[in-house]
């Protein structure tokens, strides 16, 4: 946990905060440029980066002493992606039959 570390976490916090704000402006501006299918991809990549920043630094997932919390996060995302991927597999192939 972060409270064990000697150095102040404040610089990290403010850096993450800045990065998140930049990410927000970036995603807003990029949406105005026509990138075709890549618009969605870019938006999701930025969102995921922001989410990771919040989880790793604000929620202290990075400093968590055990792997357990990371396991919880990873397995939850696994099941979430499973729900979407298998459902989308049906929708993606439905009209070929």
């Amino acid at each position: 946990m972060s409270d064990h570390s000697k150095s102040s976490p404040l610089p990290t916090y403010f850096a993450v905060w800045g990065a998140l704000l930049v990410g927000t402006i970036l995603t807003y501006e990029v949406a105005k440029i026509d990138l075709g299918v890549f618009n969605s991809a870019v938006a999701l990549i930025i969102a995921t980066t922001k989410a990771l920043l919040v989880a790793l630094f604000f929620m202290h997932l990075k400093g968590a002493s055990e792997k357990l919390l990371k396991l919880v996060v990873v397995s939850t995302l696994f099941f979430l992606i499973l729900l979407m991927a298998l459902a989308m597999f049906d929708y993606g192939t439905r009209w070929y039959s």
Partner: protein
């Protein structure tokens, strides 16, 4: 950590052996709860994904009718509130009670700002008859990038239904979060939090950050489907 500190701290519940066990249990419990929350929103994201793929043009048109600037502002507001939350915890760890209270108040103010902006957005949608139901109307709205091609109002209604359910559920989480932070503020005011014991602050913070993360995804998915001119 075999340091037996029981009976020293009144906050240590009797069925836990050590404070560390209690703190780890609480934060682990919160993470598990957040896993549940992920799947709770996950069902909605799945529905969103299916229909966005089916009715992309209609979704883009509907998405364009929402004020993305308000949504973007709200994203920034939530990010700031996440910062104040970590600062509040840091203040508790370093025994700065005044700063902690200030940060908690700021967090709540940001939260209220978010809800206020959300209210403006909802009001706009209400005035424009974009609220699903009998008065819904979305006629002659062009699909972005396809001049002369109008969105199907039925499909747009599905977008707005998902928009309202997703942002509504998110707003509900914000309101619950504000309730939790009111309680945290009261505890902080009473001086219950010390550098050794501030578990409620930490798990309340986890919840708040999670709500922030949900919004980080909702913003591009709902507001920015196809914004280019």
């Amino acid at each position: 950590m075999a340091a037996h500190t029981e009976s020293h701290n009144p906050a240590l519940l009797h069925h836990f052996a050590t404070e560390e066990q209690q703190r780890n249990s609480a934060s682990f419990g919160m993470w598990i709860f957040l896993a549940t929350e992920v799947m709770f929103f996950g069902g909605l994201f799945c529905a969103y994904l299916v229909y966005r793929r089916w009715w992309f043009g209609d979704f883009a048109a509907a998405s364009k009718s929402i004020d993305a600037f308000l949504g973007g502002t709200n994203t920034a507001v939530l990010i700031c509130s996440s910062l104040t939350v970590v600062l509040a915890i840091w203040a508790a760890q370093t025994a700065r009670r005044g700063l902690m209270i200030l940060m908690l108040v700021l967090t709540m103010l940001f939260g209220l700002t978010f809800l206020g902006i959300k209210g403006i957005e909802y009001k706009d949608k209400f005035v424009e008859h974009h609220v699903p139901g009998s008065s819904f109307s979305f006629d002659h709205e062009e699909i972005p990038g396809q001049p002369g091609h109008y969105a199907n109002p039925h499909h747009a209604q599905i977008f707005f239904a998902l928009y309202f359910v997703m942002t509504g559920l998110h707003a509900l989480h914000m309101i619950v979060g504000l309730g939790i932070f009111t309680w945290l503020l009261w505890m902080a005011w009473k001086g219950r939090f010390t550098p050794e014991y501030h578990t409620p602050l930490e798990i309340g913070g986890l919840y708040w950050h999670f709500v922030d993360i949900v919004w980080i995804y909702l913003f591009p998915l709902l507001y920015l489907i196809d914004r280019h001119p």
